[in-house]
Amino acid sequence: MTKGARLRLVLRDVASGCAFASMAVSGQLPLWTLGLYGVALVAALAGKRLFARRAKLTALLLLGVAAVLAVNVTSGALNLVVAACAFAGLISAHRLLSAPDAATDGQVHLSGLLMVAGGAALSGELVYGLFLVAFGVLASVAMALGVVEAAVPEGEPVPVRAVLRPLATGVTFAVAGAMAFFILFPRLNWNMTGPRAAPGLGPATTGFSNTVRLGGAGTIKDNPRIVLRATLSPDPGVDALNSYWVGRTYDIFDGLEWTNAGGVRREREPLLTLRPGGDNLIHQRVELLPAYGGRTLIALETPSRLGNAVANGSTGSRRTFLQELAGGEARFLEAGLSYAYEAYSLPPGGSGDTFRRLPSVEQDALLALPEALDPRVSQTAARVLNGEREPLAAAQKLAAWLQREHAYTLELSGEREDPLADFLFERKAGHCEHFATALTLMLRTQGIRARLATGFFGGERVNEGYILRAGDAHAWTHVLVPERGFVTVDATPPAHRTSQGSRLLQRLLGLYEALESRWRNSVVDYSFRDQVDVARALVRPPKGSENTERSRLPPPRAWGAALLAGMVVYAAWRLVTRLAGRPRPHEATRFVDLVEAILLPARLFRAEGETLEDLDARLAREGHPLAPALAPVTRRYLEARFGGRPLRQGEAEQLIRALQRAVTAHVRLEAQRARAAASEPRARAS
């Protein structure tokens, strides 16, 4: 095999691998298909075409695989789209291991196309996009090399270097063209076909459930994925905001789990007012990213108004209503992959809620204790407080004690019967939920009203706004202070309140998330509406431009866009007319191309400027053994081409077959002669 052919096969196989990877990144393919495909790809790259001799027999294996997948689908273990994708991957694997001829190449590329289509249905994420581009480039280059290889006479080297440059230009043009097509061509959204994977790096990690359960390891703390971006006004301008971002609160603890009294409070509101606000509210424009994964709105403590919410789904963005649930939780009514909304929060210092205005169920819950509460909790609280009755001072005293006496840890294994007692008296170590629960309950044993709040703590400055990471998820305590409302007291040691991930990883993840959101906004969620916006942006002045002067004339941008469009249309028209004006190759010309291809094995080439007519005359002069076979072919070609007597139906095939036979016989004879000539001296030598 020549160097060019080997390069082509490697490119082809890697392209197929990329296509498969574009499906695999969705994480939905069954593990065994990944294994099978991986083995096939490695074998193919090592040049081991295991199925080369038994293509038909081994195709039975595919039948078996199809049966397994079908059983999985009917039993409901596998989605039909996923199964189809897996099957396409295994077909490709089978073709990779078959004998590498032109048909197989075509099938590998075709299955590659199927796989990227499947990948689009399964995930369509940024990583998918990367693999898609890699597949497109590699497969194009491999196919082009195949074409060049077919045109080069047997035994001659393929001019890989000379070919790669125009190829690269061509591929660049193709990619640019595809992008232009993507941006401008009216599009249909077909994202709803398959089960879509969670966006980004696998499933979302946070999210709010209706309960908080103590116990288990808190793996979340080292997760650096960004879940929220917010711009604040007035802008605090600090690098680390170190603020509490509340999601919801809990008031009933049963010894294991925190829940809420009461259910849905308001069903469907465009704007939620949780509590009245003054003049000095902090405005936040918040974006919840796909890694967040929940439907609960987050706002700086203490939220006053929430609204103007937009849910971004796979089918576009739309406004969504809000719902108010127990525990002061605001939820989006419609699910989306990411959300945007605005919030107004009270400045830190207290929620302003008064006990009397709370719903009665909540009033009762704020002092409720689990039935099986360890008596030591109450005793310890009383001992630590030592007569302190003022709620805030008491809470701070208890928090200081908790921080002093207890260690922060995420390594908590196993379920405990009484996690609170276990934290306070046995292990003396836990994470934020343990600290917050302990503080809340210890306060309640002393008759001080308190509740658990969950959300995020922190706020890292990025550009003009702040971000929160999944690892910033946090729990703390709200103490009800007369005249001030609920005041935040955090029992968790300050060093462990924000996320604990490594700095470098955070930075890398930040980069990825930024790219990913850009990909999502400008590719996956790019809709017809966005197209209209692009077109509009071409003709209208940008928003907020200084020039407000009204004129009846279209703005310069419109002229520019029209000029550009005109130039593009003109260039396209030139190209089309040139292509259309180019005479179609005569039937006889195609025939003569075929004839010349047949003559190649006999090492008969046209010299520079020579035609088949000249070649025929030359062979006749030289008395070449193929001259008699070529003469009738040449004569018919000339008649068909220049004499106005076209080839009859099937005549070309007949002439070609006859010539082919003559050439084959001639080549065989030559080879025999060459062998005889080669063996003769050896015979003499022995």
């Binding site: 005569h586 010309t589 003569v592 520079e608 400027g609 035609t611 088949l612 007519e613 000249d614 005359a617 000339l638 008649e639 081409r641 220049f642 004499g643 106005g644």
Partner: protein, 327 residues
């Protein structure tokens, strides 16, 4: 000595019969000038294509013999005019003679009124006489004192020139050269042919061996047939592209004229008859390209005579490799 011509029927010959006729003529020419088969074929081509022939060669290689043999083989009336410095137009065209009895002028045709005229050493005559001949060649008629006299048909001029010795000559202007369809040079015969000549020439003049195998009528029929051969649009385009290539070539001062294009087409049509084809291929065009155009292109270099023709031929052959033929 002339035998009755075995004349083809004049009713629409096929390309195959035309080839036979042309081969017969060429074979007779080959008897007179031995070892020059290619040139003999080109001479026949020129006759059938209806063009005039320019033979450029040193003296004594059989130019005159070839012309005479052509006349004899085709049964054409023949005149040989030796062009000299004092030859006047009236000497070849003819003159009005006063008849005393009838008191009228009567036209007495000159030697030009023959079917085949050999203009020997054309470049020795003064330009006036040259142009009188060339005008007659172009028009096919002679105008004298207000009356027009048609030349016989077929009418062919074979002119000879010595390309080496230019002293006392009036070299033909390029516009005049353009009127000759083909230009040939015979060259010295091969040594064995020359030796055979030496042995046999003494016995019988070579022309005696030439028999009349055709007739003026047949030549006319062949001409009609050749003129009607199919010239595909792509081949015509090829001819035009070749002409343009000569006009754009850096080493060529003046390229092929439109008359040259037409002449090449006519010559290529006749060339196709040699293959018994009723259509023209690019190969036919290339086969007659050099004899048809080498004398028509004016080179930038200062070479003259034989060297100029060789260089022109070389350039034209280079062009056939560069200008892609239709496929």
């Amino acid at each position: 000595m002339n035998q009755p011509a075995r004349v083809l029927s004049t009713a629409a010959p096929s390309p195959a019969t035309a080839r036979t006729a042309m081969e017969r003529i060429a074979a007779e020419l080959g008897r007179a000038v031995q070892g020059k088969e290619a040139q003999a074929r080109l001479v026949a081509t020129c006759l059938v294509a209806g063009g005039h022939l320019l033979l450029e060669d040193v003296p004594g290689v059989g130019k005159t013999t070839l012309a005479e043999a052509l006349a004899r083989a085709c049964g054409l009336s023949f005149a040989r005019v030796q062009f000299t410095a004092d030859l006047m137009p009236a000497d070849i065209l003819g003159a009005q003679i006063f008849h005393a009895q009838t008191a009228t002028f009567q036209f007495r045709p000159g030697p030009l009124f023959r079917q085949l005229v050999l203009a020997d050493e054309l470049n020795r005559a003064p330009p006036r006489t040259q142009s009188a001949l060339l005008e007659a060649m172009a028009q096919g008629q002679v105008s004298l004192d207000g009356s027009t006299h048609a030349l016989p048909s077929p009418f062919t001029v074979v002119a000879t020139q010595n390309p080496v010795d230019f002293s006392g000559t009036y070299p033909l202007p390029d516009s005049q050269l353009d009127r000759f369809m083909l230009r040939l040079s015979l060259g010295h015969p091969a040594p064995d042919v020359e030796a055979k000549l030496l042995a046999t020439r003494g016995r019988a003049p070579p022309l005696d061996a030439v028999q009349t195998v055709s007739s003026p009528e047949e030549v006319d029929t062949l001409r009609t047939l050749a003129a009607e051969l199919r010239l595909d649009g792509t081949v015509a385009d090829y001819v035009v592209r070749l002409a343009r290539a000569t006009r754009e070539h850096g080493d060529i001062e003046r390229g092929a004229s439109t008359r040259a294009v037409l002449a090449l087409g006519a010559a290529a049509r006749t060339q196709a008859l040699w293959e018994a084809r009723d259509f023209v291929t690019p190969g036919d065009v290339r086969a007659v390209l050099v004899p048809c155009w080498a004398h028509r292109v004016l080179l930038r270099s200062a070479v003259q005579g034989v060297a100029a023709r060789d260089e022109a031929a070389h350039l034209l052959e280079e062009l056939t490799r560069k200008v892609p033929a239709p496929r």
